[in-house]
Amino acid sequence: MAILNKEAAKALMQKVLSFSKADECEVNLRGSDGGNIRYARNAISTAGDISTLTLSVTSSFGKRSGTATINEFTDDALKRVVQRAEELAKLAPENPEYMPLNGPADFKDAPTFIEATAKITPDDRAEAVAKSINVAKEAKLEAAGFIENNTSFDAIMNSKGLFAYDTDTNVVFTITTRNAAGTGSGFAARGFNDVRKLDTDAATRIAAMKANSSADAKAIEPGKYTVILEPVAATYMLENMFRGLDARSADEGRSFMSKPGGGNRIGEQLMDEKVTIYSDPYHPDLPASTWNRDGLPVNKTTWIDKGMVKNLAYSRFWAQKKGVQAVSMPTNIIMEGGSASLEELIKSTEKGILVSRLWYIRMVDQQTLLLTGLTRDGTFYIENGKIKHPIKNLRFNESPVIMLNNVEALGKTERSISIESYRSYLIPPMKIRDFTFTSLSDAV
């Protein structure tokens, strides 16, 4: 069994620490159990089932550290792994940025573990997939999809008395349906801690509706348009920005958060006033880990407050160097929304484009966070508050920072996943003016 409960993990790690002779020692124990099914052409293509359990030990003498890992758990194996970490530490070069380990802290639990998700069997997965395929067949479409569930735990303990443990469950489902002629394609993505919230039938119906309504798209001229990004599109675009919420690269002058002339943009009004972005591991709709790898508690942190840069993450080393408090990178991200539904956003739009999903987003310029990518799986032209017709996909070149300066309206925040990392976020649909499309694509 790869999942140890808090007491079992604690007992094992205490035993490991008792073998340590180093100045400082940190033990990390992690395990996961999971499985997946991938399907295409209305049939299952691959499926797998994997479990892992790993113990790693980092020993330090002064500023020299070494790490060793093992997946055997006899007393002899535990002694061996500690000894090996100590040998490696003695051979390692000094790390001038070494930070002494943290002492104990009060880590609270977030409701990330759901029993029902942990109990998923290969048959449950097959049944969820069968439902999805049936919807596609009824709609005379071809389904390709993926379902993956995972149960994991993670614990750290160190020689200064710190102990933290968490366990979580996750299920991710993505579905693409296409028509036989290859002229229409639709997509839906879902991610939950609790599998009881996942309805593969309903998600596939949405993908099917998009596939059928996106067929026979018309071309429009590339250029600047008002767009309505559905949450799955907005999430993918913004994830690239969330990764840059780091003070060090900003202070070093090589991030979009760098201030011309030196320093970072904390305190600067960088985006529209409608934009507030924060992280909170205790949020009931997006529970996340309450501690980080540095052994620091993760608390609610506001990153962008009404368009102003409020915080950037400081590692313990960088915080010490700058004389500020360490700020952990977020373990989840929530963007505040408005009250409008997606339908109301469309209704309020004279001319614009509804974007269901974005695809293949890559950084073009780190300085401005200019990104390029394309629309995919349902792009529609809006005229006088109504969806007029499907349009061909378009390539964009746009920066999320510029985009969040051009916010016209935000819809209700909902749970959405990034189609690249499969992480879940709480992001609203958003209406953005002057979004820059640079070329047309024939892809469906």
């Binding site: 993926f146 296409r178 073009v364 390029t372 070329s439």
Partner: protein, 544 residues
């Protein structure tokens, strides 16, 4: 990876070195790398246990991969070592067909009992899946090879080179960059050794020892007053070679406006040049958007080949198996069947190859026990073939698989991955200088940069590392903020000249991503410098 790590790890990527993420592995003492792992006889016994257990539970076919994956990464920035990671991952993956359906299970507990249990789990997964009715899997016949082996032909095993030597090299690279005036430099050496044992119910027992190496750096120079910064990364490649790759000989250097490298790499020389380039980039004028003739160096063109030729000729994409993730392909079966689909100009010949020495894709046998080879994909501009594995070969009328099956580790199921896909050099003698002489308004691009392409591989956009404007047959100077956009078929039909074989070089990547769950594949793409006429160039400068 624990979700907790994701944002934390990727935060390092901005402005620093974008390093590939590896599947997983456990940190180990480097002395473990000198140990050969378990004996091949023991592997055969374990493999037979798995195959027999699968058959006993009703599998009609089974294969087992016993894998030991060694990775070493040494990463540095400026004057300090950031990380020295030595990882080892060892385990067994078992794939079966039962009730006409695939099943897979893996375990890192490599005992006869646990391997047998994993085989039984794989059969149970296949049977659970067979409840979703579908056409049974049809495997192309494959002869058993008996007990055979293959090794990457290396001169120096990177894992036997002391870590200190690697640290010394990287810190001297950083020192040269800082002396050259850059503000920041990240450098790294990544090494991979896949020790793979494959056995199947067809009667093959294949032992392979595969080596790959990737030395790289990125330099950043900042103009504090304006807040602008520019970067230039290494022009070295990831290669299917040993540590000898880092001992460049005079014949490995391609001189010209920037020195580029053929079979071996001079990292120290390249970083000195990078420091000069990044300074020039800060001062260079921004490109005027419009149509230009592009002269693309192999250090850049490999990525365009990868995205616009290699991916769309993957048969699993063509058939729809990737529809939910990477997408499908515009190179549909009807275009191939017509025998006259005009992919590119007559100059365009593209070859798939799993044998090319020094390439990342070179192996003796693929991950379903098929001996590897070479075949044409695009012949005189026409689409003639795809890349297939055993359960797809019959769909394109092949009697045998083309040997394109790969899994990134023992814990991942194998599936269709691209071989090396390379543009053949021009048949007539042509130097790069002579090619440039005929260009009136053009841009010469060296090194790969940003990349993006749609889900059917029609519309793409590429950046680069350094860009030179060509005016009336002469290089006029460096420009910046360049990206080109095109439609794949139009772009390859605008191919107007290809330099001869004396200019042929490989480029490549360790981390070509595909599949769900995602897997990385290492692959190389060769070409000589090539000219494309009248391509749309945009300006990527913005203000925030």
């Amino acid at each position: 990876m624990k979700r907790k790590d994701f944002i934390q790890l990727s935060a390092m990527g901005l402005g620093a070195l974008a390093l590939p993420k590896f599947a997983f592995g456990n940190p180990v003492d480097p002395s473990r790398f000198l140990n050969d792992g378990i004996d091949v006889k023991v592997k055969k016994q374990l493999a037979d246990v798995a195959l027999n257990a699968a058959k006993a539970k009703g599998a009609t076919y089974a294969d087992v991969r016993i894998g030991r994956y060694l990775n070493q990464f040494v990463t540095t920035r400026e004057t300090r070592v950031q990380n020295i990671a030595n990882t080892e991952s060892f385990g067994v993956g078992i794939r079966v067909i039962a009730n006409g359906c695939w099943g897979f299970a893996a375990t890192n507990n490599v005992t006869k009992e646990e391997v047998a249990k994993a085989a039984e789990r794989a059969v149970a997964v296949a049977k659970a899946n067979s409840k979703v009715k579908a056409e049974p899997v049809q495997l192309a016949p494959q002869q058993g090879y008996g007990e055979v082996s293959w090794k990457t032909p290396i001169e120096i095993n990177t894992f036997t080179v002391p870590v200190k030597d690697k640290v010394d090299l990287l810190l001297s690279v950083n020192d040269a960059a800082l002396k050259g005036g850059v503000n920041f430099v990240n450098s790294a050496i990544l090494a991979i050794n896949e020790q793979k044992y494959f056995a199947s119910t067809d009667g093959s027992y294949i032992d392979q020892d595969i080596h790959r190496l990737f030395p790289t750096f990125n330099v950043t120079k900042i103009d504090r007053a304006s807040g602008k910064f520019e970067t230039r990364k290494s022009l070295g490649n990831p290669v299917g070679m040993g540590y000898e790759y880092l001992s460049a000989r005079p014949q490995d250097k391609v001189t010209g406006i920037i020195t580029r490298y053929r079979d071996r790499y001079d990292m120290l020389e390249d970083v000195r040049n990078a420091a000069i380039d990044v300074e020039q980039k800060l001062k260079a004028p921004s490109v005027q958007p419009g149509k230009y003739d592009l002269i693309l160096d192999p250090s850049h063109l490999w990525l365009t080949i990868h995205e616009s030729v290699a991916h769309p000729t993957e048969l699993d994409r063509v058939l729809g198996y990737e529809a939910n993730y990477a997408g499908t392909s515009f190179l549909t079966l009807d275009k191939w069947k017509s025998g006259k689909f005009n992919f590119g100009s007559k100059l365009v010949n593209v070859v798939a190859d799993k044998l090319q020495p020094g390439s990342l894709g070179a192996v003796g046998y693929d991950d379903e026990g098929v001996q590897c080879g070479q075949w044409d994909l695009i012949k005189d501009g026409v689409l003639v073939n795809y890349q297939a594995i055993r359960d797809q070969a019959h769909i394109i009328g092949l009697k045998h698989s083309q040997g394109c099956c790969y899994a990134q580790s023992w814990a991942d199921v194998q599936f269709q991955r691209m071989p090396n896909v390379s543009l053949q050099p021009g048949k007539d003698p042509l130097s790069v200088d002579d090619m440039i002489k005929n260009v009136e308004k053009g841009i010469y691009i060296i090194g790969d940069g940003s990349f993006s392409i749609d889900q059917q591989r029609y519309n793409f956009q590429f950046g680069g590392q350094v860009f030179y404007e060509i005016k009336n047959g002469k290089i006029a100077g460096m420009i910046k903020d360049v990206a080109y956009q095109a439609n794949t078929q139009e772009f390859w039909n605008s191919c107007a000249a290809i330099a001869d074989k004396s200019d042929y070089r490989l480029g490549g990547a360790f981390n070509d991503g595909k599949g769900q769950p995602g897997q990385s594949n290492a692959v190389s793409h060769g070409s000589s410098t090539t000219r494309f006429n009248g391509v749309n160039v945009i300006n990527t400068a913005r203000k925030i």
